[in-house]
């Protein structure tokens, strides 16, 4: 535990992981040593930048969907990077990881190792997940509700389509079959006439509807079955 008198950059970097894990505000209020770290971060732009970078990266990565990489790929990446090093202590994993690389590999090899790690992460992002447990709506109220909402939306569209289809069908039948037949049989005067009178046309893109026949009630197709 560092004293409040002096905290150097190495000590701060070692505590970055704890700071990010422990909710910065709470840690600042309850743990000794944190105020000194905070003062150092306020005074040291490099350490502050490291903290900001780590926090941003963590946030961005956590916002990604959970994906599974093939085990073989993970093994290959780890074998090429950190497995050869000594075990990394749990506290301060971030700084310890960096130190293990710096002490273990020369600069070009560290660069290659980091590139491999980046490539593995890019593959995790780009390759869609094909395995993994399926969420259970019984344990996920938000998912269960979303399923109901999706079904409702599609059911409503279907109900609307049925109603609109019925109405259009009735209108088309009336205009193209019933009305011409009636006119053909009875004519405007009510007397029987030849059935070659021109029917009205149905225009689905037009506004309004033709006036109904005098004895027919106004059509109103139900939207809910």
């Amino acid at each position: 535990m560092t004293t409040e008198a002096h905290v150097d950059c190495a000590a701060v970097l070692e505590r970055l992981e704890e700071l990010l894990d422990g909710d910065l505000h709470d840690v600042a209020e309850t743990e000794s040593g944190v105020p000194a770290i905070r003062r150092h971060l306020d005074a040291c732009p490099e350490c502050a930048a490291e903290l900001a970078l780590a926090a941003t990266l963590r946030r961005e990565l956590r916002a990604l969907p959970e994906l599974d990489a093939p085990d073989a790929l993970i093994d290959r990446v780890l074998d090429a990077t950190v497995r050869a090093a000594e075990p990394v202590p749990v506290p301060g994993r971030w700084a310890a990881f960096r130190r293990s690389l710096e002490g273990l590999l020369p600069a070009p090899a560290r660069w290659a190792a980091a590139t491999l790690a980046a490539a593995a992460l890019a593959i995790l992002v780009l390759v869609p997940r094909s395995h993994g447990p399926t969420p259970d709506p019984a344990n996920d109220p938000e998912l269960a509700r979303a399923i109901v909402e999706a079904r409702f939306a599609l059911a409503y569209l279907g109900d609307l389509g049925r109603g609109a289809g019925v109405e259009i069908r009735d209108q088309v039948l009336r205009d193209r079959l019933v009305a011409p037949t009636v006119r053909g049989l009875l004519g405007p005067s009510g007397a029987r006439e030849p059935a070659d009178a021109a029917p009205s046309t149905y225009n689905p893109g037009g506004s309004g509807r033709p006036a109904p026949l005098s004895d027919d009630p106004p059509p109103s197709a139900p939207r809910r079955s």
Binding site: E60, P135, R151, L154, A155, L157, G163
Partner: protein
Amino acid sequence: MWKPARTLWITLLFLVPTTVSAQATSLADNPGYFPIDELGIFSADDTSVEINLTGAMLRMIGKVTADDDPEFSAIVSDLDAISVRIAPMEKLDPAATRDAMARGAALLEERGWQTMVRIRDTDEQIFVYSREAGGEMAGMTVLVVDEDEAVAVNLIGAIDMENLGSLVMGLDLHQLEEALEKAEEKP
């Protein structure tokens, strides 16, 4: 001093959100998108049903329902978004609502949407429009006003009308309405 590790992480930082954003472009940029909220009808107080489902959740729904309801799963998995707004007419001004819906229909036509259904009656208006992109259906917008309620629906994605038609035959709207109300009541 050049720090390759830091450079790498910064590069990665840009790579990840760029990749994610490429996979999830803004809905507003999608040709099948229509801003039903901009109709000015569905305020938070007046709306009785508000549904907003986007691609990630829809694909999750498709995955979860794949075994039990493959037809529903297939339709939902192809959608990028579902937006629904329903407001009871008792809370709205009927004339203003009908005018707003008619303006919405005109706006859809201005933006190149194609008319599928257009019914205007004294008691109800039904407008159904579709949008194509690349030779496939990219979206559907439905605007309905009747004596009971005003409804706006926007679907974004590849909508298979044949499968949708056969699917909805088995869906009971009233049961789903009750289920939706129960789901909304839960904390």
